[in-house]
């Protein structure tokens, strides 16, 4: 009996030791999209492909919310149990991690693949000449519109800002919500600000993001005045509308016409039973000032490598494989993303998005990073609340612009 007891102890300890060894060798990919949107299923699929093609296994590890994910990553990065790979956000969102030296420099990989990527895209991950992430997502911000609603009122995709405003007027006059907008969820409040800004003065937008222009400057005031006019004319949906759950339904019911958003929104539209290309079309918002030229907001998200991660070498191999045109094709096809690798085919995208990608490439559009990543996080987090206050109280415009500048001044005075 005693021998049997010892045998059980030894076997149990052996199993634990083996498990610990396996944990120690495991390459982990942490991400925050385990629910909606679901990145876990495509990441699992990519892990299988990686094991087959590269002979390296990685384990996608989802977190229930973004806040929990960010805390977990920041806590783990300085330790010896840092994740080998983790999804993140570009530009100023990744700067604190880069500044503390907790993420791996992958400049060599970008040099190897330099003919395959747009330099504007690389800029989003570059600090002091070094690049720190490999691409997981590229999205263009376009206007999705209801094709039946446009047909019903004899409308066509606008080529100029004036045509776009006319569409808003026609929809409004017929009881259809012209544009989706919300203060719910906080972050979507910057959407119209950034898009109006880059279509009137993209250089001031870029300067504003890095503290070289002020929120109280005339070009910014003009944009706010235009935004105010659009709010007061009733072009936007109720500010409490859930643009993810409710707005696609409103579009499907013919009660809403358009929404300006990243092309990942197609997933939301498809979930509501809408067919992109048949029920919903897409166009790039025309410039307000024609002198501005052709501009579009892009959103780039990287996958970063933990510098202190035990399996860093294998993670670098995965990162190299990940950047190749073939892997990008598989990943983007699974996700419905615009491929960031120029050599990757776009044949899996919806027809409207294929046209947008072609238009961006052929007409030499200027790519500008979105507000969420392009300005320091401390400013951004306060600004999205100020934008919400403006959406709900457009009459407080001057006070809000002064408040925004105070936030920016506080940040830039110590950075």
């Amino acid at each position: 009996m005693k021998k049997l007891w010892w045998l059980v102890v030894v076997v149990t300890l052996g199993v634990f030791a083996l498990q610990f060894q396996l944990w120690a060798q495991e390459i982990v990919l942490m991400h925050d999209k385990g629910g909606a949107p679901d990145w876990q299923t495509p990441f699992t699929e990519m892990a299988k492909i990686c094991a087959e093609e590269l002979g390296i296994e990685f384990t996608p590890t989802p977190f229930p919310t973004t806040d929990v994910f960010m805390s977990a990553v920041r806590t783990a990065l300085p330790t010896g149990k840092a994740p080998e790979l983790f999804t993140w956000w570009s530009d100023f969102r990744m700067k604190p991690l880069v500044d503390t030296g907790l993420v791996e420099d992958v400049t060599a990989l970008w040099e190897k693949h330099k003919d395959e990527y747009d330099p504007a895209f690389r800029d989003a991950f570059e600090f002091d000449g070094k690049v720190y992430g490999v691409p997981t997502k590229l999205a263009y911000w376009v206007v999705y519109y209801s094709i039946p609603v446009f047909k019903k009122f004899g409308l066509e995709e606008p080529k100029t800002w004036e045509e776009f405003i006319k569409i808003c007027d026609v929809l409004k006059a017929n009881g259809v919500v012209p544009l989706g907008s919300t203060v719910q969820g906080r972050w979507p409040t910057f959407i119209y600000f950034e898009d109006l800004m880059i279509r009137t003065n993209p250089d001031v937008y870029i300067d504003l993001m890095v503290g070289k222009a002020k929120y109280t400057d005339e070009p910014v005031k003009k944009v706010f005045a235009l935004w105010k006019e659009m709010i007061e004319k009733g072009y936007f949906s109720d500010p409490a509308t859930d643009i993810f759950a409710d707005y696609p339904r409103l579009m499907a019911q013919g009660k809403a016409g358009m929404i300006l958003i990243g092309n990942w929104y197609e997933g939301q539209l498809i979930q509501m039973g809408l067919k992109v290309g048949e029920d919903v079309g897409a166009f790039i918002l025309p410039s307000i000032d024609p002198k501005v030229g052709k501009v579009i907001i892009y959103e780039a998200a990287p996958m970063l490598l933990g510098k202190n991660a035990p399996g860093k070498e294998k993670a670098l191999q995965i990162a190299d494989w990940w950047m190749s045109p073939e892997t990008q094709y598989k990943w983007c096809k699974l996700m419905g993303f615009v491929p960031s690798n120029k050599k990757t085919s776009t044949d899996f995208l919806s027809v409207p998005m294929q046209n947008v990608v072609k238009q961006v490439a052929q007409e030499n559009y200027r790519l500008i990073n979105r507000f969420w990543e392009a300005t320091p996080t401390d400013i951004c987090e306060e600004a999205v609340d100020k934008f919400a206050e403006f959406i709900l109280n457009p009459g407080k415009m001057d006070q809000i612009l002064e408040d925004l500048q105070k936030v920016a001044d506080t940040y830039w005075s110590s950075h």
Partner: protein, 287 residues
């Protein structure tokens, strides 16, 4: 004797270890962090009481404090009062079990799910609340983006969830009240209100103390339903102290300031609960 004592200590050791590891050490660590400026990545910088002095200059903190007070007052007014009212009437009617179940069901749903259900119900375009209002000829409202309507709308959702719990506790109290004093009141010609006011309610004092103390603590710490329904917005107008603490610590990574809010909140909850229980037990009446 010594062996007996030692074994007693051994029995409480696991629970004690849990309290020390998961409560006392983190609490002490939070106190230390509250005296620093730290983003959770670099080296913390000691700033003394700087984070605590910032409270008076931070309008978001003051809004959160005001909202927390509103939550406490209205949770007591709605959830506790309605719980008592429902328990009193349910205790006297024929279909008591049916009504008990109806009021109890929302309690079995998690706070997050409750938040999601009411989020859909308050939807300005497709929600049932505005649909009903429009059917009755009233205009719809932006329940979650109008300030301060959004806070009251969430308090109502929370009341819907918690009233059943308070009802059950009050029912237990009501069922322990002996029938003789109530019958004596009736024989003496007391009205329904007089019977409740002078006999039933005083005999529920202990139960009421428990319900009010629980509601106080829960409403001071209210977080999940706000996190789901408005995320403290718009423009941080519906944050409570618990939500502000979370946002400062885990969204803005102002770890020191978040820790200071946590300490402030804990001290307030402990102090208010202690004062309340002390005052109530002083006035305890024994029959």
């Amino acid at each position: 004797m010594v062996g007996e004592k030692l074994s007693s200590y051994l029995f409480i050791l696991p629970a004690l270890a849990m309290v020390v590891i998961f409560l006392l050490i983190p609490a002490g660590y939070t106190v230390v962090v509250s005296f620093t400026k730290w983003d959770g990545l670099g080296i913390p910088k000691f700033i003394g009481f700087g984070n605590y002095f910032q409270f008076v200059r931070d309008h978001v903190f003051l809004t959160s404090l005001r909202n927390t007070v509103i939550w406490v007052i209205f949770t007591l007014a709605f959830s506790v009062f309605l719980g008592l009212l429902v328990a009193y009437f349910v205790n006297r009617i024929r279909l008591a079990n049916l009504f008990k179940s109806l009021f109890y069901i929302p309690l079995t749903i998690s706070a997050v799910t409750t938040g999601l259900i009411w989020l859909w119900m308050y939807s300005p375009d497709l929600g049932v609340v505005n649909t009903l209002l429009r059917l009755l000829g009233f205009p719809g409202r932006s329940w979650l983006s109008e300030v301060p309507l959004n806070t009251y709308a969430m308090i109502w959702a929370w009341t819907w969830k918690t009233v059943g719990m308070n009802m059950v506790i009050f029912l237990i109290g009501l069922q322990t009240i002996p029938t003789e004093p109530v019958e004596a009141c009736k024989i003496d010609g007391a009205t329904e209100w007089q019977t409740f006011r002078y006999v039933v309610f005083p005999m529920l004092r202990t139960i009421t103390t428990v319900v009010v103390a629980m509601s106080l603590i829960n409403s001071f710490n209210i977080f999940d339903i706000i996190y789901v329904m408005t995320d403290g917005g718009p423009y941080r107008s519906s944050e409570t102290l618990a939500v502000s603490m979370f946002r400062e610590s885990f969204v803005l990574f102002h770890m020191g300031y978040g820790a200071a809010i946590a300490i402030f909140l804990s001290v307030v909850v402990l102090f208010v609960s202690w004062i309340y229980v002390r005052e109530v037990t002083k006035r305890e009446v024994h029959y």
